[in-house]
């Protein structure tokens, strides 16, 4: 469903060329939640933005739902749902208008769209905010609208980029439950976060990513075995420290 190989992204900035993503490879299957775990600035968002075709890779191969992101960006976008802390909702649109607007951009036939909206608003318990403007919503409500917007076209691949950041525990719990239920429906899901507990709870496999590289990848028990560290949090820090020391060695030599 998602296949990434040797993906690299470089940015030009005042300090020269910055490599945000360095030769990253992984695969995600349908019905699986793949966790990208890494500190802020690790390259998670860059990687996911490339998968959503908003950024173009410098080199490497990325394929979503069988489509190369460099070949047919629109088709890729039609097959994914993408939600991140950067995908806000419009202040001057009601919940219903927002979901409807994106549904129409996805080209869903009108009748089907209306049914889908009814269904989504029911599942996500959004009926009381149906006609409320974005500017008048609480963070939790906005998050619900965002989720509805992400899955209105029932995409086979869904990408969540730190969907719980800045949310209170109740709302975060709701989001996680929704992600879990989407997995039940057989979706192929990438879930990026820097919160270990979420990974533990949700993800089938995880990749620890730091400074643009995947440090290690596998199921949690596999990783715990391999690094001999049963505590998830300690495991995470060990892997990050390992990558940091690798980099310092490179620069020293």
């Amino acid at each position: 469903m998602i296949r990434v190989h040797g993906l690299t992204k470089e940015f030009d900035d005042f300090n020269g060329v910055f490599r945000a993503l360095d030769n990253v490879s992984f695969e995600v299957q349908p019905g699986e939640i793949y966790g990208l775990l890494g500190p802020n600035g690790a390259g998670k968002t860059t990687c996911l933005r490339i998968l959503s075709t908003v950024l173009r890779p410098t080199r490497g191969f990325a394929e979503v739902a069988g489509i190369n992101v460099m070949h047919d960006a629109e088709a890729v976008r039609r097959n994914i749902g993408f939600m991140s802390c950067n995908t806000g909702i419009y202040d001057r649109m009601t919940a219903r208008e927002m979901v409807e607007y994106f549904g129409r951009l996805y080209g869903i036939p009108e009748e089907q769209l209306q049914l889908r909206i009814e269904e989504l608003f029911e599942i996500l318990q959004m009926n009381e905010i149906r006609d409320r403007l974005g500017s008048k919503m609480s963070t939790g409500m906005k998050q619900k609208v965002s989720i509805a917007r992400t899955i209105v076209h029932d995409p086979p691949v869904i990408i969540f980029d730190e969907p719980t950041s800045g949310l209170d525990v109740l709302v975060a719990r709701n989001v996680l439950q929704t992600v879990a239920s989407l997995k039940e429906q057989g979706k192929c899901i990438i879930f990026s976060t820097h919160i270990m507990r979420e990974v533990e709870k949700l993800c089938d496999r995880i990749a620890v990513i730091h400074r643009g590289r995947i440090v290690d990848e596998g199921t949690l028990p596999e990783l715990a075995d391999r690094h001999d560290q049963p505590d998830v949090e300690e495991l995470f820090f060990d892997l990050i420290r390992k990558r940091d020391s690798e980099l310092t060695e490179v620069t020293v030599s």
């Binding site: 296949r3 190989h5 040797g6 940015f11 030009d12 900035d13 005042f14 300090n15 020269g16 959503s52 075709t53 908003v54 950024l55 173009r56 890779p57 410098t58 080199r59 490497g60 191969f61 990325a62 394929e63 069988g66 190369n68 992101v69 460099m70 629109e74 976008r77 039609r78 994914i80 993408f82 991140s84 950067n86 995908t87 806000g88 909702i89 419009y90 202040d91 001057r92 649109m93 607007y101 994106f102 129409r104 951009l105 996805y106 080209g107 403007l133 917007r149």
Partner: protein, 797 residues
């Protein structure tokens, strides 16, 4: 591209804007309220406005003739003013008579120390009169000019300090001299021995107050002189008709609506430009930078809508608001103006009818508003997309507004009319055409020929701006621009550290601006001294040309190349060209020469380009004709030097910089435009821009600067010999002819040249296209799946 998506985005954006109170206020409430409020305010101001009295000091008032009597007890008799008592009350007349009289009235009661007391003013007036007498004496004595100007300075300073706005000096014996003149006239004799004295009025026209006082007193004196003349004629028994022998009569044919048309033809184009711009700007900021700021940009980018569709939808919205704002403002302004004029008509002597322009003219207004609004909408959208935040977006408005205001001001001048050249200059073309069309309906027949070029060029510019906006939407750097901390030191460090083989786009742009600025600064210093014999002057012209080429064109490019790039070879394309490329360069120069001569002559003759200034041209021509300068010298200066210097700058640094990123077409186009612009004189600029296209193509195709240099050298050398002698070719009427002694080319030659140039250019373009395709295919390989995936893929996928 799906128009359904464009429509969806458009409708959403419009609804979004209509839900925004600020936008609604800007486009509807503000214009509807603003103009009536302004009108009301203006009426109020006019009611409370009272003009300050201006001080006029009259010396020797008792010397004025008693008949007709200029002064009365209160000052100047009000019958000499066109506005009667009203005008008379606006001048405070201080005469020696009135001051003396007052002194006797209230002796000791007043301290003379008050600064602007009549006595003090009179004193100042007398001092001024003395200074003036001194000046006149000095100039009569033919004193040194230094001395004179010093006295003049003192006089004008004293006038400024004196506190009076005009000084009238009646000479001693003025009444007597006039009486003597009249007596002489009545008996028909002419006594030369006592020449009539003149009455002096001193003013300072640099001071507005003085100018007002002067024009008032001048009017009064003129009227008084008319009366005096009538009296004199009567005494001399001459017919009154002789007083005005020329019998001038001024006839006004303009009717009320034409006067109105004149007012509107100035107001509407200016307003429409400014309002279309402001109407576009605020929605653009909201739709571009606002989207980034509110964090909805990425939401939109991950929808399946293509970037083109996003831009078009947003552009449509901005366009609608721009047109709406402009129309609302014009309507409100028109009706307010009309209402105000009719309301005030009762109280005003000269009624100004501000009847709105006819339906015909208003229709043109709406038609021309569309391309104008489209240009502004696309420009604003591009700028707003570039901005990180709405605040940053606001910063970009000021320069845009300044430029547009400057262009509009230029169009307001009554002398400026639409010409073929102006009809393709953005904003100016629409403003001028609109001005012409509103001015008179009879003239509009002649103006209709400009409609097509104006509309086409404006739509072209809008398309360019729109294309820029779409390009920005495809640029990751622009969409995900983070607020980076800018500090000069780290920027300078990065300039030095992150050098690349060829310059960056903006460095190329900066190089061009530097060259332009150097030329501008040097404009007054680099004028060759043309005194001396022709040969001497000629040598100076040649010298200046070489210095200019070396210091202002080659130098900036070479220094920037040394400082900012790592490879001079790559930047200045110092590669060995193939023999083929060199031959192409030379061949193109030979073939392009007749075309460029005929095309630029045609452009000048048909009035599309203004003719070159004759003065400089004849000078250069004389220089070329003169046999005393060796032809080798002339070729070195006019062909070799520019071929090296200009190519180093334009096809070297600038083209290499612009072409970085692989956009060859735009790089060649922009560099040739820049090359045109530095040639200043329109005809030369046009020629240079066209030749610049060929030069750019040559440089890009051969990857070497030398074919371009060869082309440039041959081109200039051929042009020089063409101007000098026409290669000694005789006019045969079939291939060649001569106009004004200049060799001209006839159609057969031109057709041959067109074929030749087209063949070479097309072969170069097709080579480049093939090359680009290979390059693109190679680049795409980086994104292909690795072989282990490829094998897994089902057949046919």
């Amino acid at each position: 591209m799906s128009w359904k998506n464009v429509r969806l985005i458009f409708l959403r954006e419009v609804r979004d804007q209509l839900r925004d109170r600020r936008t609604l206020f800007m486009i509807t409430i503000l214009p509807v309220l603003l103009y009536p409020m302004l009108g009301l305010g203006m009426v109020e101001m006019m009611l409370t406005f009272s003009e300050q009295r201006r001080v006029v000091v009259v010396l020797n008032a008792d010397q004025m003739p008693t008949s007709p009597k200029f002064f009365d007890e209160s000052g100047i008799n009000e019958k000499w003013f066109s506005g009667g008592a009203d005008d008379a009350s606006r001048l405070q007349i201080v005469t020696d008579l009135s001051v003396n009289a007052r002194k006797e009235d209230d002796t000791g009661d007043r301290s003379g120390s008050k600064e602007n007391s009549p006595a003090q003013l009179l004193q100042n007036g007398k001092a001024l009169a003395e200074k003036l007498a001194e000046l006149r004496k000095a100039s009569d004595d033919r004193g040194s000019s230094d001395n004179l100007s010093e006295i003049q300075d003192r006089l004008s300073n004293a006038f400024v300090d004196s506190g009076l706005q005009a000084l009238v000096i009646v000479p001693e014996g003025y009444a007597r001299s006039i009486a003597a003149l009249q007596d002489d006239a009545s008996i028909g004799v002419d006594h030369d021995n006592d020449p009539p004295r003149s009455l002096l009025v001193i003013r300072n026209s640099a001071d507005d107050k003085s100018a007002v006082a002067f024009s008032r007193i001048q009017g009064a004196l003129n009227r008084w002189e008319d009366e005096l003349r009538a009296q004199t004629f009567e005494k001399a028994a001459l017919r009154p008709a002789l007083q005005k022998p020329a019998r001038l009569q001024w006839v006004e044919v303009a009717r009320g609506e034409q006067v109105a048309a004149n007012v509107w033809s100035k107001m509407f184009p200016a307003m429409i430009v400014i309002m279309a711009l402001t109407g576009a700007f605020y929605p653009a900021i909201d739709l571009g930078a606002g989207e980034k700021e509110r964090g909805t940009m990425e939401t939109l980018l991950i929808s399946p809508a293509r970037r083109v569709e996003l831009v078009l939808g947003k552009f449509g919205t901005i366009l609608m608001f721009s047109i709406g704002t402009a129309l609302m403002n014009l309507l409100s302004m028109g009706f307010t103006g009309k209402h105000l004029a009719s309301a005030m008509a009762g109280g005003m002597a000269n009624t100004v009818s501000l009847e709105l322009p006819g339906v015909h003219a208003l229709m043109w207004l709406v038609i021309l508003l569309i391309p104008l609004a489209a240009l502004f909408s696309a420009l604003c959208l591009a700028l707003a997309t570039f901005a990180k935040s709405t605040k940053e977006g606001q910063y970009y408005l000021t320069p845009l507004l300044m430029v547009i205001m400057g262009l509009t001001m230029f169009c307001l001048s009554p002398a400026v009319e639409i010409t073929p050249l102006y009809s393709v200059i953005p904003v100016v073309n629409i403003a001028l055409l609109l001005k012409g069309l509103l001015l008179s309906t009879t003239q509009s027949g002649a103006l209709v020929v400009y409609v097509a070029p104006v509309l086409l060029s404006s739509l072209g510019y809008s398309a360019l701006a729109l294309w820029w906006a779409i390009d920005l939407y495809n640029s990751e750097g622009v969409l995900f621009r983070e607020a980076e901390k800018f500090d000069v030191r780290s920027w300078l460090r990065s300039l030095n550290r992150d050098k690349e083989p060829v310059p960056a786009n903006h460095e190329a742009g900066f190089c061009f601006i530097l060259i332009l600025l150097l030329q501008f600064v040097a404009m007054s210093y680099m004028r060759p001294d043309l005194s001396g014999s022709d040969v001497e002057a000629g040598r100076k012209i040649l010298q200046t040309t070489v210095i200019q080429q070396l210091t202002m064109i080659a130098c900036p490019a070479i220094f920037m190349g040394l400082l900012l790039t790592t490879s001079l070879r790559a930047t200045f394309r110092l590669r060995m060209p193939s023999v083929n490329s060199m031959l192409m360069g030379v061949g193109l120069a030979v073939l392009a020469h007749p075309l460029s001569i005929e095309l630029s002559s045609f452009m000048v003759q048909s009035g599309i380009l203004p003719p070159p200034p004759m003065e400089g041209l004849t000078r250069i021509n004389e220089l070329l004709q003169s046999s005393e300068l060796s032809p080798w010298l002339i070729i070195t200066v006019f062909a070799v030097t520019p071929a090296i210097c200009e190519e180093i700058a334009f096809r070297g640094f600038i083209l290499s910089g612009l072409a970085r990123g692989g956009r060859l077409k735009i790089a060649v186009l922009v560099s040739s435009l820049m090359f045109g612009i530095i040639h200043m004189i329109p005809q030369q600029a046009f020629n240079a821009a066209l030749l610049g296209l060929v030069l750019g193509l040559l440089a890009v195709h051969s990857r070497s600067l030398f074919p371009a240099m060869a082309f440039h050298l041959c081109n200039n050398a051929i042009a020089t010999f063409h101007a000098k002698s026409g290669f000694g070719i005789e006019a045969d009427g079939v291939f060649f002819s001569r106009h004004d002694g200049m060799l001209r080319y006839e159609l057969p030659v031109l057709i041959l040249c067109v074929f030749g140039v087209a063949a070479i250019v097309l072969s170069m373009v097709s080579d480049l296209r093939k090359e680009q395709e290979v390059k693109r295919a190679n680049a795409m390989k980086a994104f292909n799946p690795p072989t282990k995936f490829a094998r897994q893929m089902p057949a046919g996928a």
